[in-house]
């Protein structure tokens, strides 16, 4: 079985990213721009999934990359650049969520949508309704694990929690999703309801 960790995208190797970060410490803007291009999409999607707002997601990406610029000297070589950057994103998203409570229920009329798009939207409404009910920490854990593909060690590092906490948090998230989304336990029914 292959290990698919945070570097699941076509990112350069972690050593290259660490090299870029070293150049950022020296004030190299081209290196910062390169990191910005690499991380813009995953950071944007992560932030968007948490806030459901394009504007806020853009702001968060910029805030995170600004923190990278300011704090690159704090990166401890030996740890992974992606884990460090998503650790910053995690903290910024959490404090953003605390500042403004955002509700995450997209409002799309399903009957107005072409068949091909309908499945995706039903899927997204179904899952987002469930995720929206979770406490922030559980929702973020779900994204870190299933969207970003983080190992439990990486989730622990990003969120600053113990591995045991990370594991029980995911356990409770699934339990809660099961009670909020009864069709989760019964996938056949999911296609009938919406």
């Amino acid at each position: 079985m292959t290990n698919r960790r945070l570097d699941r995208t076509q990112h350069d190797s972690d050593a290259d990213e660490a090299g870029l970060l070293r150049e950022v410490v020296e004030g190299d803007r081209d290196a910062l721009a390169a990191l910005y291009r690499l991380y813009h999409t995953p950071l944007f999607r992560f932030a968007f999934r948490l806030t459901n707002s394009y504007g806020t997601a853009e702001e968060l990406v910029n805030d995170v990359m600004l923190a990278v610029w300011k704090n690159a000297h704090q990166f401890r070589h030996g740890s992974k650049v992606s884990t460090w950057i998503f650790g910053i994103a995690y903290r910024q998203c959490m404090s953003c969520l605390r500042r403004k409570r955002v509700t995450i229920v997209p409002d799309v009329r399903i009957d107005q949508i072409a068949d091909s798009a309908r499945d995706a939207i039903e899927d997204s409404q179904w899952i987002e309704r469930g995720l929206a009910e979770l406490p922030d920490e559980q929702r973020v854990s779900m994204l870190l694990v299933f969207y970003l593909g983080c190992s439990y060690g990486e989730v622990a590092e990003i969120t600053g929690c113990k591995e045991a906490t990370v594991k029980t948090r995911m356990f409770h998230a699934r339990r809660k999703l099961r009670s909020n989304l009864p069709s989760l336990a019964d996938p056949v029914n999911r296609e009938v309801k919406s």
Partner: protein
């Protein structure tokens, strides 16, 4: 395996399942999960649920169209944002010195450290041993807030906790410490369950 052993095994495997799904477990963990799945219907059900969740989250996370990376605008915004270069502590020190001058009359001096100090040997404000200083830390929670506050109060019986809806602050009075000692202190608090982040944000000094 006896019954107690089997229950332990079940619990351990159940907790690993999300990472079995995202394929980030170590080989020996994969083996123990797969061995257990053969005879545990509960875990097979849990696995089915997690696969459904994983698929739905992956599909919907890819949904939002991502705007082009506005890298030029971002780089331009840096000019207003004052890059932090080494030696950061030097900038900080001049900020602290300025605050010292401004606030010395107050009896107690509060110095906000709004930027991190990069030099680990930098001792905040005074080199003198045995001088009591109140350090102000910001605390972010990741779990049950009330429970974490109680745990914090037990760990630091003499500390003062200022509660707020966003981040709490704790004020801890102790001998003056270097930045690396303060980092270690904050890290030890971060290991308390439910505490996500502890960061030094200010120092209170007695002024005579």
């Amino acid at each position: 395996m006896n019954q107690a052993g089997r229950a332990r095994d079940h619990r351990a495997v159940e907790l690993l399942l999300p990472w079995y799904v995202n394929e980030t477990l170590e080989e020996h963990e994969v083996q123990s999960v797969e061995a257990h799945l053969q005879h545990c219907a509960d875990c097979r059900n849990a696995l089915r649920e997690l696969n459904a969740l994983s698929g739905a989250i992956k599909r919907t996370s890819a949904t939002p169209l991502v705007p082009d990376a506005p890298v030029d605008a971002f780089l331009k915004s840096l000019d207003e944002a004052q890059p932090q270069r080494r030696p950061a502590w030097y900038n900080n020190w001049s900020a602290i010195a300025a605050s010292l001058l401004a606030l010395v009359a107050a009896g107690v001096l509060y110095v906000a450290l709004d930027r991190p100090i990069a030099n680990p040997d930098f001792r905040t404000v005074t080199q003198a041993e045995g001088v009591q200083i109140s350090y102000v830390f910001e605390v972010e929670y990741s779990g049950d807030v009330e429970q974490s506050r109680r745990a914090l109060a037990e760990t630091l019986p003499g500390a003062m906790l200022m509660q707020s809806s966003g981040e709490d602050r704790i004020i801890v009075t102790m001998d003056s410490r270097t930045v690396s000692e303060l980092d270690a202190f904050a890290a030890s608090l971060q290991r308390i369950d439910g505490i996500a982040r502890v960061a030094l944000v200010g120092v209170q000094l007695p002024v005579d």
